[in-house]
């Protein structure tokens, strides 16, 4: 039987961690862009758009990420769209992230005083001009800490993609455990790797919060 050294285990997990990081980055960036669109729809003065965005947000907040992943992975092929674990994982996490970010940012937009909307409206600005030049720049300051904080959820969320066979840290951990029969060591390392990814994000969220609080 093959022997696995500690270094073998760790190096394989680290290689798999690349995919966790890449998937997180894709989900966060694409989810952020999509989330911005959902946010605009959510706060636009157009009631049907608001309702649609609200439904979207509640749908993704009200169902487990795992179910969303299954639906994307198993349902899309039924309608003739072939998905690899990669695309299914990226798509499901993007949708999930966009819904949460839109809701976080909506809170930030609503924290901007009503007088800012009224003053810009009085200057004949339309909704998109108000958002672009007056409201979003102010909401952004408030939004940075919770947004960075949420990125931790995205990183941890990538773990469920192991279920559909996407090889990131968790899946790699399972595979290595099956070969080495050392679950405690392997999953311990997996946990540490997640912590190493997430803890700096949490710390920077806290630091940003302090910094932005001082600035205003």
């Amino acid at each position: 039987m093959l022997e696995f050294s500690f270094w073998d285990i760790l190096s394989n997990l680290l290689l798999a961690a690349r995919w966790t990081v890449l998937l997180s980055v894709i989900a966060f960036v694409a989810g952020g862009l999509a989330g911005l669109l959902v946010l605009m729809a959510r706060v636009a003065p157009v009631p049907p758009l608001q309702r649609l965005a609200k439904l979207y947000i509640e749908l993704f907040q009200g169902t487990p990420l795992l179910m969303q992943l299954f639906i994307v992975f198993f349902a899309l092929p039924l309608v003739g769209i072939e998905t690899s674990p990669w695309t299914a994982a990226a798509l499901a996490l993007t949708l999930f992230t966009s819904a949460y970010l839109a809701e976080i940012w909506r809170g930030c937009v609503e924290a901007v005083p009503k007088g800012q909307w009224e003053a810009s409206a009085s200057l004949a600005m339309g909704f998109s001009e108000q958002m672009r030049w007056v409201v979003l720049p102010q909401a952004l300051r408030i939004a940075v800490p919770p947004t960075v904080g949420f990125s931790v959820q995205v990183v941890k969320g990538t773990a469920v993609t192991s279920i559909i066979g996407f090889v990131e840290i968790t899946k790699a951990g399972t595979m290595i455990t099956n070969a080495t029969f050392q679950p405690f060591l392997v999953y311990g390392l997996v946990g540490l790797l997640y912590f190493a990814l997430c803890y700096p994000l949490s710390l920077s969220a806290k630091a940003l919060e302090r910094k932005l609080n001082v600035a205003r």
Binding site: P113, G115, E118, A119, A121, A124, M125, Q138, R141, R216
Partner: protein, 244 residues
């Protein structure tokens, strides 16, 4: 010639009717103060002139631009009507100059040099030409309110609405704002003010409008209204104010 014409304005908040059919005209160059107790509907009426309060019935006409309750696009109206608020509402992330320039740039799409020149001129008009690069948080309340006035003026509105613009100021800062308003009045700007500064109203305004219970119940030249109120409500209001 009438510049602003309000006819049959009605507005309810839930089951409370705050404007019960208000008619009012303001001629070009006229300075009109709306007075009355809080809850009389004067602020709501003022805010309906530029569409910040959606009216339930009636027509608002400003310089040929008509708005009725069904109107969605208020841009044309708001280009003719400037507004200054009690809480200044400057954009805190922009400097004084940028506050003034923003709408010139994104609404009027003026060129860079023109925008800058117009903003400098507007700030100079309120005596703050030297504060172009200062941020709102670095300015006193009175200075912030003057920047807000400059921001509205730069858009070259036909009429300027002032909603209790000195009420949030410390007493020693009230006069610098009022003297700017007085200067605008002398220059022929059409102004509609909601104010509690009765002495100012008396000295500067051409017309006084007394609102009570969602209606205009008296209007006319300030001296006549203050000295010979013809309704008990106004008599009581004047007595109350002068007793202060």
């Amino acid at each position: 010639m009438s510049l602003v014409k309000l006819s049959g304005i009605r507005k309810s908040f839930g089951s409370v009717e705050v404007l019960k059919g208000v008619d009012m005209t303001v001629r070009e160059g006229e300075v009109v103060a709306m007075i009355g107790r809080s809850g009389s509907g004067k602020s709501t009426l003022l805010r309906s002139v530029n569409g910040l309060e959606r009216i339930d019935a009636g027509v608002i006409e400003v310089d040929g631009e008509c708005v009725d309750p069904g109107q969605i696009d208020l841009r044309a109206l708001r280009l003719k009507v400037g507004m200054v608020f009690q809480q200044f509402n400057l954009f805190p992330h922009l400097s004084a100059g940028e506050n003034v320039m923003l709408a010139l740039k994104v609404v009027k799409r003026m060129g860079k040099a023109d925008t800058r020149a117009a903003a400098e001129q507007a700030l100079a008009r309120v005596g703050l030409g030297h504060k172009f690069d200062a941020y709102p948080s670095q300015l006193s309340g009175g200075q912030q309110q003057r920047v807000a006035i400059a921001r509205s003026l730069a858009m070259q509105p036909k009429v300027l609405l002032c909603d209790e613009i000195t009420s949030a100021l410390d007493p020693e800062l009230v006069n610098e704002v009022l003297s700017v308003v007085r200067k605008l009045a002398e220059e022929g700007m059409t102004l509609i003010l909601v104010t509690h500064e009765m002495r100012f109203a008396r000295e500067v305004c051409d017309q006084l409008v007394f609102m009570h219970g969602g209606r205009i119940i008296e209007q006319g030249p300030p001296v006549a209204l203050f000295d010979r109120p013809s309704t008990p409500e106004l008599a009581q209001f004047v007595g109350m104010v002068e007793a202060r």
